[in-house]
Symmetry: C2
Subunit: 386 residues, 2 copies
């Protein structure tokens, strides 16, 4: 194990019906809220009405900032920052999935900053931020219990991240009933996303002597798989929706990577280019990239991939290389059974553009210090995703 | 899953050599510390000198409050409270195992209270407390990342707990090197203690649809077993000591029980009488009680015990009842291999006093609302511990 600091101060309020308590928790942070949400679903599902009723009952006033896109964009973040400043907002209340939460974190930082919020994505350290209270409507990204977010700068086609201890939500309301209406495709993409968060560190960590972290990741993956299958069979399966929501939260809140030392996000690095260049859901992009990357990376470190195959997919092959391949194939097959695309073709991504995608991905490879991932290597991986 | 609030704000600073940073973290909380520790080991091991050097380097002054007993007593807590008030202490720095940390929590609450600190153990709610920074020297109780503590009132022979969100340590330093000197017997008892914390909820929870919590517990138990075996073979095994330290922390910090609903502590209830009536270490008492209790309880709920047998001990029996018995036997055998007693006789506890022990245990059964545990039932369980 490697030295680390683990500090996750977000308060989680979990359970059916908890959405109606958001006002109580938001009121602890201030009297005037910026209410951030996406396009239409929170209104059609009635969640918007329940949230505003709860805010009103707790004595808060609020200003709407709706229209957050999945893959939130900088221009809309800037509008939110301007609104928060103009309206002298005390607290951000985010209602939605990871995109809404990520944009809200950027707004929370930008609202207390005199320059352009994009600075935080490039180099400037966040020194303060407005408090953030979230109501999660999609179990996937883990943004509800971590301190990071991703925003795309449309002008430069850069999908970059913001991160700071100041950006942990103060309170996140996790009401599994709000996820009953998530359709099958996004349920599947969310499962892929959550799994991707835990396996990046698991497969790429500097330190291999991390048995507790390994068990934790393997248990999360099995649980996410089993609950996703239950949800796809019965979308209002209360226990499965609850389990999936809690699992996705723990998939990216710092626990699975604490003590594993340096690690990388190669799958996210490549997928960011797919979703920056094409209109594809993040989870769908990941289910295309991950099996190809595993096929590539398992050749270099078969032991860990074999352990994954044995513990998660009950592989009984004794040879590590064979078991590592088994693991990659098994995960790809499982992504397929839940309806997520597993090839570039299935994702409507033109194979002839592999070189261009690889070139684009090197920007993030350079930014994240993934030196081994040259354009040639990334193209090699993408060729395994055909 | 059941509704819950999860909020654990303790900052963990983990790694070899981190003890020398305690001054930096304590200084964030104030300039004058009450330094709480046990009897002699922190001085003979040099930990006391390293802690005080770090406090001095960070500009803190401190007052000593040493001599905390294992099973801390109220009279010594009261002395600490008086000293903290008299010296106008800003921050409590606790250096030791669970007993030192538990006493420090009581002092932290009592120091800002105008009446007797025992009130908090009986009925009064803690409304504020001095900040607490801990340096852990024994991986076992989980006190370093939770909000509870246990103290014995010698006058009334009551061993009661204190608990409040104000009692989470601000920062806990987890330096695995400090545990290298823990002898084999206490290493074993600590493993039993940590396992006991997670399996009580696992086996007795109201809600059975908690697959993530189950996986988490099963992974912790496997990991604690494997790292304990490594430590007993090599006491300065860096990775095993680190893993055991981190596992014991997560065994009682709220995660394994979040969402499982009501649960019980029958093994702790029975063990409490053993250690109240006989001179036996808590972990040693637990390793006697747990296999007998499992043998008893498995008859009533074989499915969960069978799952434990299959996932933790790789039992391949198809019949649940048989597999549940296998699990109880396997855990008992494992406790034996690490040198912890597994029968009343091995613990020097007279079998002819089973009725008297059972009668004593009913006091706590009544206090904790374990109505099913009559003296007859407890005697039945103890007869399975012969």
């Amino acid at each position: 194990m490697q030295p680390f600091v683990f500090h996750n101060p977000t308060e989680i309020v979990f359970g059916a019906g908890m959405v109606d308590k958001v006002g109580t928790y938001a009121a602890k942070q201030g009297g005037k809220a910026l209410l951030v949400y996406g396009r239409s679903s929170v209104k059609t599902t009635g969640v918007y009405d329940r949230v505003t009723a709860s805010l009103a009952a707790a004595g808060l006033s609020w200003v709407d900032h709706g229209g957050v896109k999945s893959n939130p964009v900088l221009s809309h973040v800037r509008e939110g920052v301007a609104l928060a400043k103009q309206e002298q907002i005390d607290v951000i209340v985010a209602v939605g999935g990871g995109s809404v939460l990520d944009e809200s974190k950027a707004i929370a930082a930008g609202a207390l900053y005199d320059h352009d919020v994009w600075d935080f994505f490039v180099q400037t350290k966040v020194e303060k931020a407005l408090p953030l209270v979230t109501v999660l409507t999609l179990a996937a990204t883990g943004s509800e219990m971590n301190s990071g977010g991703v925003v795309t700068n449309e002008e430069t086609a850069q999908k970059f991240n913001i991160g700071s201890p100041y950006l942990f939500p103060k309170t996140s309301i996790l009401d599994p009933e709000l996820t009953y209406t998530v359709p099958a495709d996004y349920t599947a993409y969310s499962a892929v996303d959550a799994i991707s968060h835990i396996i990046e560190g698991y497969f790429t960590s500097q330190d291999r002597a991390t048995p507790l972290q390994d068990r934790f990741v393997e248990g999360l993956v099995r649980t996410i798989m089993e609950s996703t299958e239950q949800i796809l069979a019965q979308p209002d399966h209360a226990d499965a929706r609850a389990t999936m929501m809690w699992a996705a939260t723990w998939a990216l809140n710092g626990l699975s990577t604490a003590g594993i030392g340096l690690y990388q996000f190669p799958n996210h690095m490549i997928e960011h280019s797919l979703s920056a260049l094409y209109d594809i859901a993040h989870g769908a992009g990941l289910s295309i990239v991950i099996p190809g990357w595993m096929n590539y990376a398992a050749e270099k470190n078969p032991a860990k991939f074999a352990q994954f195959g044995r513990r998660v997919f009950y592989c009984t092959l004794e040879d590590d290389v064979a078991c590592a391949r088994f693991a990659a194939d098994a995960l790809k097959a499982w992504f397929g059974t839940i309806g997520s695309p597993v090839t570039l073709g299935e994702g409507q991504i033109p194979e002839e553009e592999i070189s261009a995608i690889a070139e684009n991905a090197t920007m993030l490879a350079n930014k994240w210090g993934l030196k081994a991932y040259t354009a040639e290597v990334i193209a090699d991986i993408l060729n395994r995703c055909r």
